[in-house]
Symmetry: C2
Subunit: 210 residues, 2 copies
DNA sequence: TAGATTGTTAATCGATTAACAATC
DNA sequence: TAGATTGTTAATCGATTAACAATC
């Protein structure tokens, strides 16, 4: 691509996969064209926001007509780097790790968990789907060999910072963390946290308190 | 509690569990008092934001001193309704569901997965940890019997809307959805989506594109 | 007391939404 | 063409941060 346009805000980026998902549904319904109005209706978003989000990546709607679904699909994948395979390192072969490797595999073919690591000698050598659990120490080796570009941390909170540091040291700059821990990362690394406990605790606020 | 204070914004609510997590760590370190400055350092947040967040729930810092860790712990739990047991219905006994029931159980004792449901006759009757998978049809029954207050949707996207409707029909108003689907909910229901695929796709944007 | 830190107001920053000219 | 819908500017709304008086 080359010129990364004027720093797009994370809020915008996080909506793009949602648009992409809708586009898949539209394709299945053989809908060829869609307006921001209709997209907004389906996603419960403001149409102006959708237009603005998309327009940050160039003009690709047709005035009076709307967006071409096939092109939108192509464009969104291009923006999100989903036009090529992305190799993911999964660290942690516990219940969560195994579920993730199953789950993620199904969903999106271009993002592939290519290697699974653990530190527990009991787990190293075991099979997780078609992958063999490797020693977390060998991360840098695998990093190169398999061109690992993303990391998923699925270890207990107590080990998360160490694993994170190892990922960064191995040159992985994009990390999804499932451990309930406040991880420290250097500049230039992208970290996203997603933790069930935190989500549930926040949701608990909305319970009717009798 | 009674008077829910002047509508607190979701951004504030979502930070509270993070504060709570820090407070647990402080307790383990036998730290009795902490300033917003120190909290901000540890969490990489602006101290003013932390003070403002906490102040929305009353004055409980001491000027010139900071916050009492034990009281902060108590107060945060009270705000988040974590001062009593919360019974959670888990719908979907696949890999993800099983991982969640294992995972969540560990983390936080007051939020308990109390019942697991599925629609697949193969799965109904099977054990998930100490729980027996029930028929999703019987949700309303269990809802009453076990005072289920929250729902977790861990079914495939194709079934998610139906399950969501069933949860709502059974009177469950707080839902955490793991399926990659844009669910429709009526007013008064709180839904939070957390979907690995969406997260990974958004993160993919930040890969260096060579 | 003097130093530290809260609670809160005001200032800033960023994100969402409304409005509309351009144009398909 | 007339109606529809984009792309974009301006207006609004909300969230974050700075600053500081109050006070422990």
């Amino acid at each position: 691509m080359g010129n990364k346009e004027l720093r797009i805000s994370p809020s915008v980026i996080r909506r793009l996969p949602v648009y992409l998902r809708l586009v898949q549904e539209l394709k299945e319904l053989s809908i060829a064209t869609i307006s921001s109005q209709e997209m907004g209706d389906r996603l419960d978003l403001n149409p102006a926001q959708i237009r603005k989000d998309l327009a940050s990546f160039g003009e690709f709607g047709r005035k009076g007509v709307g967006y071409n679904v096939a092109y939108l699909d192509w464009k969104l994948r291009q923006i999100l780097n989903l036009d090529r395979q992305i190799n993911v390192a999964l660290i942690g072969a516990g219940h969560l790790g195994i579920a993730l490797s199953n789950y993620a595999r199904f969903q999106s073919e271009r993002i592939k968990i290519t290697a699974v690591f653990d530190r527990d000698p009991q787990k190293i050598g075991q099979k997780v789907g078609s992958l063999t659990v490797a020693d977390a120490q060998d991360l840098p080796l695998y990093r190169q060999k398999y061109n690992l570009q993303m990391g998923i941390i699925a270890v207990p909170a107590s080990a998360a910072q160490e694993v994170c540091d190892e990922l960064v040291a191995a040159g992985i700059k994009v990390i999804l963390n499932f451990a309930p821990a406040n991880l420290r990362i250097p500049k230039g690394v992208h970290l996203r946290n997603t933790d069930v406990t935190t989500e549930l605790q926040a949701l608990a606020y909305y319970l009717e308190n009798e």
